[in-house]
Symmetry: C2
Subunit: 272 residues, 2 copies
């Protein structure tokens, strides 16, 4: 007998995984958390029925959320992550020696605890002494502070339920307040195949607070449509300021960096 | 009640479609052919259990198989397609007025007949007077000819069973013989997530017959991993020779063309 887990991305299409076994299941104050061993993608983290990461392909998502922005900053002393309780984004940030502080602001302590136990390939990064974890609502955290981040990464859930506020103008404004003047924020921004209207809304919203707002993509096979978008926003000019690329990356490299910003016609038609 | 169709890409992961109804089903001398109406991706063509195209996303695959090569040729008088009985590749080729002849060499007449009837969005192109259809084995067709194609597109099934010979050196050699000296061939070359060894083998094989062999990618959500590769081979220098891009494309544009050739690190590590 085999279990199957499937996530539908719309009313008729989805991804299906053959499951070896369930290794963790809990309901936190915020969401249902499940971790499975799959037959071919290693460990799988599912929040409220949606694939958050698999052991096999999380490297693409985490590398592409983090490394492009680093290449536009010569020095990053302080970086922050909103969400990202699995630790994958922090893991990539820590690959830069100039980083002195990496903040993780994650609302759900149970995601972090489960990740530390069952997803060491991402969460072991959280033990690093440069990491400070705040179990708080990211919106409220930024709302009352001026942290002076060089880089901020919004590694959030999909914009349904509480995560919806992560797409609000109040949030964009408090991000700008918590960034240094030449800081950069990067949002995971959903699938161009399923969420093009969300992407457009986010670009339009961010454009009210930042001069440069750029969309880029990466292929993540276990996310809806197998193709994911990221939105980068800043008030400085985006130009390469760092040659160093951490050794051992599996997706990001010089050739990806040099061809970062392109838009398929069906995306351009919507986002302008 | 709903039917579901699923294709597994390995022993544990796949795509699943909710089906409205089966509109065609037959077994030809070469393969099992099925056409469905899906709930969210329109018409779906399945050969031997594998997704060949859906109405919603076929544009990416067909545009990206065809248009990059055209941009490297100032004039294309004669183009050929091996496989591609659904007509989508021919449809894109015919968007260039300089094309005088477009050959379709498709082994399976029943695929063409079914496509004409049930997939008009791709197959209506086959009625154009510039099109010549040969219901023949592509390998045997090229083997005994010297056609002088400007461009050849290998729009084949996956390299299992009879299509395996499409990855042989004899085939590469007969392609070179059927191309003009400055001709270009483009292969669909499978998913970097599931077929990296095939991609490598194909690049290595083609490199024995062509000076320039370049891999490029496009996101096709209903193909394994949602991300597809194409391999272009030629004995001339690849440089832009045509500004014209046909109006009405939905994926390919100037920005895609200018950022065509990049390789993620995990691909580069294998293909070199």
């Amino acid at each position: 007998m085999h279990l199957y887990f499937s996530e539908f991305h719309d009313k008729g299409t989805g991804i299906i995984f053959k499951i070896k076994k369930e290794v963790y299941s809990a309901v936190s104050p915020y969401q249902e958390i499940k971790i499975f061993d799959t037959c071919t993608y290693g460990r799988l983290l599912v929040l409220d029925g949606l694939v958050m990461l698999t052991e096999k392909d999380e490297f693409v998502y985490h590398e592409m959320l983090v490394h492009p922005a680093f290449s536009f900053k010569s020095v990053v002393k302080k970086a922050g992550v909103i969400g990202g309780g699995d630790g994958g984004t922090i893991r990539e940030i820590l690959k830069y020696r100039d980083v002195e502080e990496a903040y993780l602001i994650e609302i759900d302590r149970m995601v972090v605890e489960a990740s530390k136990k069952y997803l060491p390939f991402t969460a072991s990064s959280l033990k690093d002494e440069r990491v400070k974890i705040f179990f708080e609502d990211g919106i409220r955290f930024l709302n009352v502070r001026e942290e002076g981040f060089d880089l901020l990464f919004v590694d959030s859930s999909d914009p349904v339920g509480p995560a919806k506020a992560l797409y609000s103008k109040e949030f964009y404004e408090s991000i700008r307040r918590n960034l240094k003047e030449d800081g950069i924020v990067v949002f995971q921004s959903e699938s161009p195949w399923y969420h093009l209207e969300i992407i457009k809304k986010q670009i339009d919203g961010l454009s009210e607070f930042f001069n440069e707002v750029r969309l880029y993509f990466a292929p993540v096979p276990t996310y809806p449509g197998g193709f994911w978008s990221f939105t980068m926003a800043t008030n400085k000019k985006l130009k390469k300021q760092r040659d160093f690329i951490p050794p051992g990356l599996r997706y990001f490299n010089e050739s990806v960096r040099e061809n970062l910003f392109w838009l398929p016609e069906f995306v351009k038609n919507v986002t302008g």
